[in-house]
Symmetry: C2
Subunit: 192 residues, 2 copies
């Protein structure tokens, strides 16, 4: 998605060869018009698929998932991290590791909101090693829900999460795939 690639190139900040900061338009401050275009693009990429629910994980996946859900006209379920009193006890849970926070956390979804009747699109902001995606897949498996695909805003193509997911036959679409980056610039993988 050229609009997103241009935004990343123009405003994103690369630190070293691994950290890409997009907090100026996606992860802390949110450019809502860009977000709307991203939601529209996810709808185009997964059009014709039978999707009745979008799954994401708090916090930074929520904004993108909600904007996409408006186009799909389906509810969003966001997996909770840590222990929320308000989630209830009847949960699908999985342990995952967050590089952003540098620690393990529990991801949980109430059994009320995912079941074998659901055809689910997973949406998230970043894909790198794939920990969050694999945790969400685990939750879908616990729920016997059907995975339709995974939509990612920014994939770090030089890490192996995307490769693993594609090799599993999953319909993974990333709006921008960073092939390599350093302080001189960012190269994106060309996509149809």
């Amino acid at each position: 998605m050229k609009l997103l690639e241009d935004k990343i190139s123009n405003e994103g900040i690369v630190i070293g060869t691994d950290i890409l900061k997009v907090d100026m338009f996606l992860n802390h401050q949110i450019d809502v018009n860009l977000l709307d275009e991203m939601g529209k693009e996810f709808y185009r990429l997964f059009s014709g698929k039978s999707i009745n629910k979008i799954l994401t994980v708090e916090s930074s996946g929520i904004a993108i998932a909600v904007m996409a859900a408006k186009y799909f006209n389906v509810p969003v379920v966001f997996a909770k991290k840590a222990n929320h009193k308000n989630v209830g006890n009847d949960l699908y849970t999985v342990k995952s590791f967050s590089f952003t926070h540098g620690k393990d956390y529990n991801m949980a979804v109430s059994k009320k909101y995912l079941s074998e009747n659901d055809n689910v699109l997973i949406i998230d902001d970043f894909l790198a090693g794939g920990n969050a995606s694999f945790a969400m897949l685990d939750i879908l498996k616990q729920a016997n829900a059907n995975l339709v695909g995974i939509g990612i805003a920014i994939e770090k193509g030089f890490q192996d999460g995307g490769k693993k997911l594609r090799e599993m036959g999953i319909n993974l679409k990333s709006l921008a795939i960073v092939e390599s980056m350093n302080e001189n610039g960012i190269t994106f993988r060309s996509q149809d």
Copy 2:
């Protein structure tokens, strides 16, 4: 907002006299069409005000803030809880207490995204004692930013956060104000 009040009455679950669970359409699973109507209503309530930024706090404020921001055509900044590596070091921070999590947490906003040039609408999902709102007000004060108003989805009118904020002269609008509730039903404060 009758649509939201009806949704709360029909689907919300009251536990005791203090806990109102709306995780079936707002805090865990999100009804995106309702959310869109809520965003539109915030725009109506604060129309004519000069607003160039919406401030909320992760996680459950993000969805509502983003939908409202689409109508205002302004960016959202969401305050981060805890310590995110990706936020950076140049921060406005404030300590707050979360009843949902039963503990103190740090709320932080990067200095890059709030300044004296900003006219800010605060949006959040719940208002009870007002801790999150007061923490966001503290951050605005640190930034010398101008507060235009506060928009809340569901206010617990039987707790004192709303009263305190209104007594400070703040333009506080809540889409639904729960006057009282128990397992037999919910009474809403009538609003113009």
